[in-house]
Amino acid sequence: MARAAVQRRLTWQLATVDAVTDETPRVRTLTVGVPGWPGHQAGQHLDIRLTAEDGYQAEREYSVASAPGEPVAITVERLDDGEVSPYLTQELQAGDEIEVRGPVGGYFVWRPEDGGPLLLIAGGSGIVPLRAMLRHRQQTGSTVPTRLIYSARTRQDVIYSAELMELQQGDGVDVVLTLTREQPPGWDGHTGRVDAELLRELAWPAGQDPLAYVCGPTAFAEAVSATLVGLGYPPQRVRIERFGGTGGP
């Protein structure tokens, strides 16, 4: 039974930061070695716990950025008023230890047998769990037709930029970027929000029974998912992961 499979206890593990990679000026990927990591599915998240010298602790959740079987990685966007993200993106170095437990979640996951056509829609750092899905698709040799629509503020804010371009060129994944705030000179891509017009043009027709994953800030996820339902996507084929409140930590 599926239930039995998730009954194991999630204990805190002391993990070592093996590598830090700057993705954008505000975003950093941390690759961590977690002894006894039970493995994860593409789209799941994990918990991080930090402890100050006086015992004060802070915990947060982050999506796993790596595919199943790859070393565990998270990609963190620095929120200037945040408590944890400035530490993870500016202070933490390779060799440091943090506590981790997971993986957590089981609905916002994609497995090759879930099929598609796959429509992945990201707002900002909402790309992170979708990137795990894209890597998993590639890793398993899946040929599921896949389109990524990724909304970022500026070209510089695009996370995994080189990797996404490679996927676009070599792996049959349509990558559509839209830059909402500022475009580089000569930009001939999309410029607005992921709105009804864009989705009418780019979302797989509902008749193809597509499977959609939407990840982004609340307002983004609300608007995109409502539009997909309006285009005929059954609600159970639109899976959503939202983050932030209306600007929370």
Partner: protein, 201 residues
């Protein structure tokens, strides 16, 4: 014993008035974050109804009938498993004591069913005795759809995923069954003060 995170100081919050009100691992937010697994349903009032069924005399209320039931204003602190807590939220809703009646429900369970297919399970004794409501108002306004409107469950003493959005039906059961998130590894009961986030906590 936790390992100290080199260089981490954390942000000590001004806990004035918050002391003893924020469960372990939580932080206080002024926002009202939205978390749900699927698109927000928008059920118009004239297509909305609320039912109780299972091991209870079945009963269905239309929106108008439901709104004519006695309601209460509830001020409560709420705690989301994703670690935000929001203090002094003000709701208006119908007590489950009103909806489920006064019969002894000892040893029984409630499965809440919602628009969009979401479910969550609770012991009946946790939703009776002035502990749970079907809330239709928030902050003096109608409950917005993204926060569960027209009406959601409000069970503030458990993690907030138990306060199911868009609730339409309560099924009384003589046995426990996991709901949606409970099947995906979240704790079956979800007491924030015991930090019961995940199965086994």
């Amino acid at each position: 014993m936790s390992s100290v995170s080199r260089g981490f100081r954390g942000r000590r919050r001004d806990v004035g008035g918050e002391e003893g009100r924020v469960p372990p691992g939580q932080y206080v937010t002024q926002d009202f974050p939205v978390l749900s697994a699927g698109p927000t349903p928008h059920t118009p009032h004239d297509q909305w109804s609320f039912s109780v069924e299972g091991a209870i005399t079945p009963r269905t209320w239309t929106w108008e009938e439901f709104r004519s039931l006695p309601s209460e204003t509830v001020t409560a602190d709420i705690h989301c498993v994703t670690r935000w807590s929001k203090l002094d939220t003000v709701w208006e809703g119908v007590s489950l004591d009103t909806l489920l009646g006064q019969a002894d429900r000892g040893g029984m369970f409630v499965m809440a069913h919602c628009d969009g297919g979401y479910t969550t399970n609770l012991p009946a004794q946790d939703v009776l005795g002035g502990q749970a409501w079907v809330a239709f108002g928030y902050g003096g306004q109608p409950l917005p759809p993204e926060h569960g409107g027209p009406a959601r469950l409000l069970v503030p003493h458990l993690y907030f995923w138990k306060s199911a959005k868009w609730v339409r039906r309560l099924l009384l059961l003589d046995h426990d069954m996991p709901g949606f998130w409970e099947t995906y590894g979240y704790h079956n009961y979800g007491d924030p003060w015991r930090e019961q986030r995940y199965s086994g906590d």
